[in-house]
């Protein structure tokens, strides 16, 4: 089902096409994009060794904003995959060949495509051996009393991201054999013999200045969201100093060294209350810290912050005191309590969504082990803080309904890895 073009702006239409997916959406998308300057996406490389060993090595190649913060690609698809049969060597070769085709087709960049493939604990459970101790990948669980999420229990997840919506769609179609060529490259192999796509769990999203405000046509996205805000909650996020480095999140030992773990929480957002009931001062207090509000450090949508979110050690340490003395704590100050030796533990690559026609967030984060995510999430829950739920950062506005944990193996093991590649299992 291709969305009705007449009622949507071009960008909006294209976003809707990414959400829809499929060959029909792709051809419509190509037509739509063709209206503008039709330039081909930059092509990739024939030399796989020129690409980074880590699947999650995106930062060096992605663009940055004027302040030097990494800018994620604007359009995202998360494609859930279930194995059709128990994997064998031939399947591994097929999967690797399919990924290499995509890498030949598209430059590893915002303009081209960046992608990862991750595997769930359910996937690894089929192997006799267990994952090595150097990998911390438990089954996902509910992490707070407020949530009762469903879990990602299929085998693998493909994360495709590009500034060009048609590239996200085309790459997905190519990987599932619905095309002969992709960006001028002949398709050698595809995933369709190995994996089924789980349409029911396909997720999409977008992030970038001004994109959320294009969704005010939806009943649950208020008009009052700032025109330039990159995220639905109305503020910039992902400042360099609040993000873990890729090195920090990389597994450093064992057969999966060079890999990382990925945590994905999908949540609904209550924007009507956030924008139409709380005022700006309260939003800044709850998102950053009460002192950010009092000292007007943030601006209308975070433009006053440059590469740091203004979280001095003092403001982080003041969290418990702010709870008691000010009756409110900020999400960012609270989460930053989990830093280790001053370094954030999570590399957040979250993006907005209107899947299901309601505003939400796919909170995707990378960290060395899932235990680190759990620690940060506990800091964010702030059960230790003497503050009512409504004033406890963002808790009042987010409703987690799915969670998945994944291993993103290093590139060399990305194709259907056994639980312990070193052991020859």
């Amino acid at each position: 089902m291709v969305p009705d073009r007449s009622s949507l702006s071009r960008r909006e239409y294209v976003r809707a096409l990414v959400a829809t997916g499929g060959a029909g959406a792709l051809s419509a998308c190509l037509d739509a994009v063709d209206d503008g300057e039709a330039t081909a996406a930059p092509s990739g490389t024939d030399d796989p060794d020129s690409l980074p060993d880590r699947q999650h090595a995106w930062n060096d190649t992605l663009s940055s904003d004027d302040d030097g913060n990494v800018l994620l690609p604007e359009h995202h698809a998360l494609v859930a995959l279930s194995l059709r049969a128990e994997p064998n060597e031939e399947d591994r070769d097929t999967v690797e060949a399919a990924f290499r085709t995509i890498e030949r087709a598209y430059e590893w960049s915002n303009e081209g495509l960046v992608f990862t493939v991750g595997y769930t604990p359910a996937y690894f459970a089929r192997y006799d051996g267990s994952l090595p101790d150097s990998v911390d990948l438990p089954e996902p669980v509910a992490l707070t009393d407020r949530e009762d999420p469903a879990f990602d229990e299929y085998d693998a997840l493909l994360h495709l991201a590009s500034d060009r919506p048609e590239v996200v769609l085309e790459a997905e179609e190519a990987l599932f054999g619905d095309r002969e060529t992709v960006n001028g490259v002949d398709l050698e192999a595809d995933l369709s013999g190995v994996f089924d796509r789980r349409e029911d769990h396909r997720r999409t999203g977008f992030v970038g200045d001004g994109l959320p405000a294009r969704h005010t046509d939806l009943p649950d996205v208020p008009e009052s969201i700032h025109e330039e805000a990159p995220f639905f909650m109305g503020f910039r996020s992902g400042f360099r100093e609040s993000q873990a480095t890729e090195d920090r999140v990389t597994i450093s030992e064992g057969p999966f060294s060079g890999g990382t773990t990925q945590q994905l929480s999908s949540m609904d957002l209550q924007l009507e209350v956030w924008f139409e009931q709380d005022n700006h001062y309260q939003r800044v207090s709850k998102l950053f810290s009460p002192e950010h509000a009092e000292e007007e450090l943030v601006g209308a949508f975070g433009e006053r912050l440059e590469t740091a979110s203004g979280l001095t050690d003092d403001r982080i340490e003041a969290t418990a005191a702010d709870a008691r003395e000010r009756g409110v704590v900020g999400h960012a100050q609270k989460a930053a309590r989990a830093r280790e030796n001053g370094d954030p533990l999570l590399l957040r690559r979250d993006f907005n969504t209107v899947d299901g026609d309601r505003p939400g967030l796919h909170f995707l984060s990378l960290q060395r082990g899932i235990d680190e995510f759990v620690r940060v999430r506990e800091a964010m829950t702030g059960a230790d803080l003497d503050v009512p739920s409504a004033n406890n950062g963002l808790l009042h506005y987010i409703f987690v309904n799915r969670r998945g944990n994944y291993l993103l193996p290093p590139r060399e093991h990305r194709a259907l890895p056994p639980a312990d590649p070193g052991s020859g299992a």
Binding site: D145, D148, D268, L271, E272, Q277, S285, G327
Partner: protein, 455 residues
């Protein structure tokens, strides 16, 4: 299934007349935006245009920085209480109306925000939540959630209703929820475990997350009922210091206004606006008696407890007194106030069950001055001084006890008669407020008390 509490035709006509009278009045009072809440409906072609979605809500200019009598008694539809594990809850629906949310100390203007319903279509959705066994209303914000459905389709994003206080409903959870159309709605409520320190019979209980659902119909009949059911008070009383008494939950309305302008002993000064059954003071008994009712009266499905704290004489220990007062406070109205919140503080005998070992327990129970609604989600600390020297400076912990209900307390080792105790409000109650409570309990200066010599 539901208790619609529909009103008979005669009552309806009478109430409509009251509404009309008040609209005429509103013009003189001012503060009303033109066209706001007028009787023509909002013209979205939905339902009967003769039925307003919200009543006329006149403004009170310059209300006191204290609890005050609003312009009217709110009308609502009470639904039948529902069970959710150890919890029980009673949904109530009214028209969307202004309320105030707070995030902060209340000293900066921006820390308090007035919420105005944007278009009148929808409801002010509320529920009172209590422990089925003890009947204690659970007056703390633990992050309950609601999701609304119509014909199995979700309507809007999920939301966490605000913890709120209102003169008529006491402590409850609620929010204005706009509804796209008339119809039957299903609400799924998720109740999160009570993480606040629990003592007495509550210890170790209320720790399971629960869900429950209820249904309601939004239509002309509902609007007639809640808009027509509004009762305007005598204009002379608007903004006067005082409060409406608790609503009679069994009948969906009634009650009276308390006031204090006329000296003590005169709390019930004849502002009766009920249907003749406004004398329900006896329906709100105090202390254990009241709780036992709530817990064991299984036949009375309509009984909804009101979050009323026990009165002064029901607390153990010695009541701390204002050093300048001549008499010991006998009831809540006599207690020292800060930001118009009444502060009951007592020091127990050594070895009291909430104290550590043979220490004493210092208990502070701030409440609304007329209806004794607990002021929850505050932060309090105390300074104990003897001969001008500070001997202790503990923070108090918010605690929910099966007998003493919500209070802030700490175990103290070295505190004795003659000591002075200063209660510092680090942050005022972070709960949203209905009209009449929004100007109180914000700026709350320290309360200075002494521990009287044992008599």
């Amino acid at each position: 299934m539901q208790d619609r509490d529909t009103i008979d035709r005669r009552t309806f006509t009478r109430r409509t007349a009251a509404v009309t009278g008040a609209i005429a009045l509103a013009g003189c009072v001012g503060g009303e935006e033109p066209g706001d809440g007028d009787e023509t409906g909002d013209g979205d072609g939905n339902g009967d245009d003769d039925v307003a979605a919200v009543p006329e809500l006149p403004e009170i200019e310059d209300p006191p920085d204290a609890v005050y009598v609003p312009t009217h008694r709110e009308a609502m539809r009470m639904l039948e209480p529902i069970d959710a594990g150890e919890f029980r809850l009673a949904p109530m629906l009214s028209y969307p109306h202004p309320f105030w949310v707070i995030a902060g100390g209340g000293s900066a203007e921006e820390e308090v925000e007035r919420i105005d319903p944007d278009d009148g279509r929808g409801v002010h959705m509320m529920f009172t939540l209590w422990d089925a066994e003890t009947g204690i209303v659970l007056p703390v914000d633990e992050g309950t959630q609601i999701t609304i459905y119509r014909d199995d389709e979700q309507v809007g994003s999920p939301r966490s209703p605000w913890a709120m206080i209102s003169q008529e409903m006491g402590f409850h959870f609620g929010d204005n929820v706009s509804l796209p159309e008339d119809g039957t709605y299903t609400v799924e409520v998720t109740i999160t475990p009570v993480s606040t320190t629990k003592t007495g019979d509550l210890e170790g209980r209320l720790e399971e997350r629960q869900t429950a659902t209820f249904e309601f119909v939004y239509d002309d009949e509902f609007r007639h009922e809640v808009v027509g059911g509004v009762e305007y008070l005598d204009e002379d009383d608007w903004g006067r210091r005082g409060a409406l008494g608790p609503m009679d939950h069994g009948h969906g309305e009634g009650g009276h206004a308390h006031g204090e302008e006329h000296g003590d002993g005169h709390h019930d000064d004849g502002h009766q606006h009920g249907d003749g059954d406004g004398h329900h003071d006896d329906g709100h008994q105090h202390g254990d008696e009241h709780r036992d009712d709530g817990g064991h009266d299984d036949h009375d499905h309509h009984h909804v407890p009101y979050s009323e704290l026990p009165d002064v004489d029901e607390y153990p220990g010695t009541v701390l007194v204002d050093p300048d007062a001549d008499e010991r406070p006998a009831e809540t109205m006599d207690l020292p106030r800060s930001g118009d919140g009444a502060f009951l503080a007592t020091l127990t005998e050594p070895g009291f069950r909430l104290a550590d070992g043979d220490e004493r327990y210092l208990l502070v129970s701030p409440r609304t001055p007329y209806n004794r609604v607990p002021l929850a989600d505050m932060s309090l600390s105390v300074t104990v001084e003897r001969d001008g020297e500070t001997v202790a400076e503990p923070s108090l912990e918010q605690t929910l006890d099966s007998e003493l209900d919500l209070h802030y307390g700490t175990s103290v080792a070295d505190v004795q008669p003659g000591d002075s105790v200063t209660i510092t409000v680090e942050s005022p109650p972070q709960v949203a407020r209905h009209r009449g409570y929004e100007t109180a309990f914000l700026e709350m200066p320290p309360v200075e008390l002494t521990i009287p010599e044992e008599s």
